[in-house]
Amino acid sequence: MVKAIKQGNKTARKVNKAAKNVRRPNRSRGGDIFIGFILAIFGIFFVFPMVFVIGNAFKPLNELFLFPPLLLPVNPTLTNFQDLMMLLTQSHVTFTRYLFNSVFITFVGTVGHLFLASLGAYAISKYVFPGGRWFFNLVITTLMFTGFVTAIPNFLILARLGWVDTYFAVIIPAFAMPLGFFLMKQFMDTVPMSLIESAKIDGAKEGHIYARIVMPLVKPALLTGMIFSVQALWNNPQDTLIHTEQLKPLPFALGQILAGGVARAGAAAASTLVMISVPIILFMIAQSNILNTMANSGIKE
């Protein structure tokens, strides 16, 4: 009896295993190999410069100018980072000040953007009211406005407001990034209205529903909005809007080092790695949530 069951289990397992090995229908082996090959080739093309960036940051100066050039360092060292620190502590505005400016601008800009965009997206996604649909269509159109097209009038508007050369000039416009609003609205469409209605029957106020019921459900959308906002703010040297050295962000200072040429090659390599690691690490942490949000990003015509 027991033996029979064991036997049964064994065959069941065998069947399972066989089922796993069955290919998906419509998938030829040749096609799989072809696709794997293409992905590998392009993967190398895409990852190669990034490996180069990372490798360079840890190369001692003599290896940076070695012929033939190396992809990865032979004697990895942290000298470049020490150089970078030294350069920036000796400058008349210190490294910590640049870093603070960058973190402050990125953090406040992102948090404000997420708060205002989610508030507005909630209203548009969950209710039909005059002008709502129209406003959303306007947001979709503005997805195409790049910073270049709006830079000049934006500067004039900020000058009129008297915000040029203050944190406001870079933080407040960042609140209104259309991409984040768009994604949040699309994601909130998936939150069932019945959930909100039942909360209302229980006597919850609108503010409460937004903060306690909807927000926790749209966490993936918030993380996605965060990535796009951080990416835009963190990488921007903001040199047209901020002129006071004490208020300038890190990319500006690092841009100066990058422009320093051969003598600063080591520090420049280190600074590049510092700059790119922040958005990449954030993306790695948030990746699965982000893909969750992008699943709802379709534009309905």
Partner: protein, 324 residues
């Protein structure tokens, strides 16, 4: 004048025009009532809407307005009609070069980047979970990494010890180093390669996510209907079911391909040799941020903007034919 009719009451009149007027008034009353009912919604939307209007919508409107003026920031703008546009197309040779370069870049990197984003997303979608996450990062990292593209300046350095030159000379493919970034013959291909490297952005993520949400039963139904290979599956099942995502990806691709500018300035310098990779965005920055001819720069921005809108409409028409 007749009293403002209340919603749903006393609608009508004797002549068609009176009826029309009454109906209109009634509609307005309805709308007004609805607005009053949803007051708190406007309160929710207002903070975003105000900042959005000020820093995203207003700049475009202002830009269109200034494009018909001569404006140098110091003096008040002076209305000059279409003069800026005429100058751009008839008197500004550099603009025409920039326009040609931008159109070339958009026509090459836009569709290739778009198709690449979709194909890679589609390929990646079939991979096991962890490999999928890893490959997504590999393809997406260049887009979020900002200044990382400057590494290409080392790879394509014109110096004999520049990475690519060093290997090409070593293997005897070339004898003298090629000035990749200052010889007009090579500059455009280099910029195209780097632009493509950075082109897998938000659209790519949308594709990956969109592919994973398509209902598995659709594929099973397709199998029953006689779909025989993955390419048929792609055309008849996958693509029609993610048209929204395809549109979003297209919008992102168009925006990115028309606004190449930072890459050309970073790699080829400003201005580039013989304006070989001078783009409309470079021209815009030149007049807007260096020469302060705001009216002229606004005309350039308006043209760029119109080109993007037009491309989006064209792509939308094309995408609506998918799966037929």
């Amino acid at each position: 004048m007749a009293a403002f009719p209340k919603a749903g009451k006393n609608v009508g009149g004797n002549t068609p025009f009176q009826r029309y007027k009454a109906k209109k008034a009634n509609q307005w009353a309805h709308t007004w009532l609805s607005i009053k009912q949803h007051k708190w919604l406007y309160l929710f939307l207002a903070p975003f809407a105000i900042i959005f209007a000020t820093f995203v919508v207003a700049p475009v409107v202002i830009s269109i307005f200034f494009s018909f003026t001569y404006f140098n920031v110091l003096e008040a703008p002076r209305f000059i009609g279409f003069q800026n546009y005429l100058n751009l197309f008839l008197a500004d040779d550099v603009f025409l070069i920039a326009l040609r370069n931008t159109i070339l870049l958009a026509v090459v990197t836009g569709p290739i980047g778009y198709i690449m984003a979709f194909l890679f997303a589609w390929f990646i979608n079939e991979l096991p979970r962890y490999l999928r996450a890893f490959m997504t990062l590999v393809f997406y990292a260049p887009t979020i990494a900002g200044v990382a593209f400057m590494i290409w300046a080392l790879i394509f350095s014109g110096d004999p010890n520049g990475w690519l030159n060093a290997y090409l000379v070593r293997f005897g493919i070339i004898e003298t180093p090629i000035l990749w970034l200052s010889n007009p013959a090579y500059m455009m291909p280099v910029i195209i390669i780097v632009s493509l490297w950075m082109s897998l952005g938000a659209g790519f993520l949308a594709f990956i996510a969109g592919l994973s949400t398509i209902d598995e039963s659709l594929y099973e139904a397709g199998l029953v209907d006689g779909v025989r290979n993955r390419w048929q599956e792609l055309w008849f099942i996958t693509l029609p079911n993610m048209q929204g995502m395809l549109m979003f990806g297209a919008v992102m691709a168009i925006t990115a391909s028309f606004s190449v500018g930072g890459v050309t300035q970073g790699l080829a310098g400003f201005p580039s040799t013989d304006y070989a990779v001078h783009t409309v965005v470079n021209h815009l920055v030149d007049y807007g941020a260096i020469r302060f001819e705001m009216g002229y720069a606004s005309a350039i921005a308006t043209i760029l903007f119109l080109a993007m809108i037009y491309s989006k409409i064209a792509v939308g028409k094309f995408l609506s034919r998918i799966g037929t």
